[in-house]
Amino acid sequence: MGHLIGKEYCLDHLVEVAKSIVLAIHKAPQITGKTEIQAEILWGDDLEPIIEVLGPVAKVARYVQWDYETIKRCHEKGESPVIINLGAKVSTSNLGWNCGACGFDTCREFNRYSKNDSGGGGQLGGPCCNWKLLDYAIACDWACASAWHYNVDNRIMGSLGFALMALGYLPEADVRLGLALGPPRDMVYYSREEMHKTLDYEQDKMDMIRCVPTMFTGFPGGGNPMYKTKQDWWAPPEYMGVGYSDAAMEVMQEVLYEQVPEIVVKHADAVAARYTKSN
């Protein structure tokens, strides 16, 4: 006997669905059969450090802004998504195939580079043995497909992968992505109702001018075309410029090397402690 009313039980059940999805992640077929996939589940207030880290990054990357705002707004109104952290160790090849896909002639050379010379992981980790990365991606896809079959709105996110890496989640992994699940309604992460009225018409139009400039290019025969950025675009004419941007780089530096580390410092020990306990 029972009677479930309201939305709380649905939100609670998302965690159970996430557990089932993790089973699909571990069941996913592999090409190499030698890639260990790692999966964890986060929800509720445990999303707050992730939201906090994404905050400054959202200021310099629109796609991060969209993920950040969506997750944050859902969380703030009591409809917190559930996030599956997906990781794998793919920066070392134990295949010996010497296929060349990584850019080196042999796996041994790649492994030496990976150990000694790489930058130690970019936004999403790396370097990668591409065959092992395929195993990882298949598992990520099975997570998405599984969520789809449960009819839970979901999106696999590089933005979350960056936050997971910054905060030290999945310490054994060297690539990370996050799968955001729910809340239980349609189009949370596509068309994004949460983001309504975030951008006005002019901002949206300027995005398109910057991202798809050929759509706004005037006659190019002169070699320096005018750009049709307004109704009477010819009077006075406007031109596109390309150049290094001190302002853009300063903001990027500030975000990545000052603001994000400041937030990470607040949470890193608590995150690390979880892995120590579980060991």
């Binding site: 370097p127 991606a137 896809d141």
Partner: protein
């Protein structure tokens, strides 16, 4: 506008069986697998992709000669590398035992990277690892020299490779949903690519597909390239024929009987 003409001639019967191979009843069965593989391909095209950018091409390969050519290429490659020799030889057997091969490639991983500075290719904070090893002008990669001695002309944009993993994963998910057996293989992908399948791709994964009583891709024995169903059947032809030759009676006149049998044989 041409009107839809409804075909109401809906009657018939089809006999389907996996035995004997390449018989009409077996080919009907294979056609069902081809339909499944087509849907797997569609699923691959709808997988999540970074930025929603289309970068997948695919080939469906079926038929006795086509599968044999693919298997032979895999066997040729097997002997070039001791690390994958056994796997490639075993998987060549699986290709011969398959109904349809689905090859999925990524058309951008070697030429038009994501350019997002994700670092997955080389672990750096930008795309320098990829571009420094490529022949390019201001970021436009020149792929016209296809003479690389490597099996795969890396480095590749790992974000695109990751996308290809999504495509392969979705194809495999659909295979699982449709209850056809399927498995992703590097060997099939590399051999298929060398044969010219998925010609615009920088990397290819092969997925053999089958609908048979026994899943061709699991439960293999040792020396599978030497001991498998084809070989067992051929071995039977070899041994049993010779075993008949050394018999000596005219069955119309006399047939040997077991000793100590009370009743007459029929």
């Amino acid at each position: 506008m041409r009107r839809y003409v409804e075909d109401l001639n809906f009657q018939g019967e089809e006999y389907v069986s996996e035995w004997t191979p390449w018989s009409p009843q077996d080919i009907r069965r294979k056609k069902g697998v081809l339909e499944a593989a087509r849907l797997m391909l569609n699923s691959a095209l709808t997988a999540p992709f970074a930025g929603g950018v289309p970068s997948t091409e695919a080939h469906l390969v079926y038929g006795q000669e086509e599968l044999e050519a693919l298997a032979r290429k895999m066997e040729e490659l097997a002997h070039t590398n001791s690390a994958w020799k056994k796997a490639f030889l075993y998987e060549a057997v699986m290709v011969r035992d398959s109904d349809v091969i689905l090859l999925i490639g990524n058309t951008r991983c070697h030429e038009t990277p994501l350019d997002a500075g994700c670092g997955m290719c080389g672990g750096t904070m930008d795309c320098g690892y990829f571009y420094e090893k490529k022949n390019h002008k201001y970021g436009l990669v020149d792929i016209t020299d296809r003479s690389s001695p490597r099996m795969i002309d890396g480095p590749l944009c790992s974000a695109r490779v990751n996308d290809m993993g999504y495509a392969v994963g979705s194809a495999l998910w659909t295979a699982r949903t449709l209850m056809v057996d399927a498995r992703p293989f590097a060997s099939v992908g590399i051999a298929g690519h060398k044969l010219g399948y998925c010609p615009k791709s920088g990397m290819v994964v092969g997925i053999p597909v089958a609908a048979k009583a026994k899943n061709p891709y699991v439960d293999v024995n040792v020396d599978y390239h030497l001991i498998n169903m084809d070989k067992v059947l051929d071995n039977t032809r070899k041994i049993y024929q010779t075993a008949r030759i050394i018999r000596g009676f005219d069955y119309r006149k006399w047939v040997p009987k077991p000793v100590n049998t009370d009743k007459e044989e029929d």
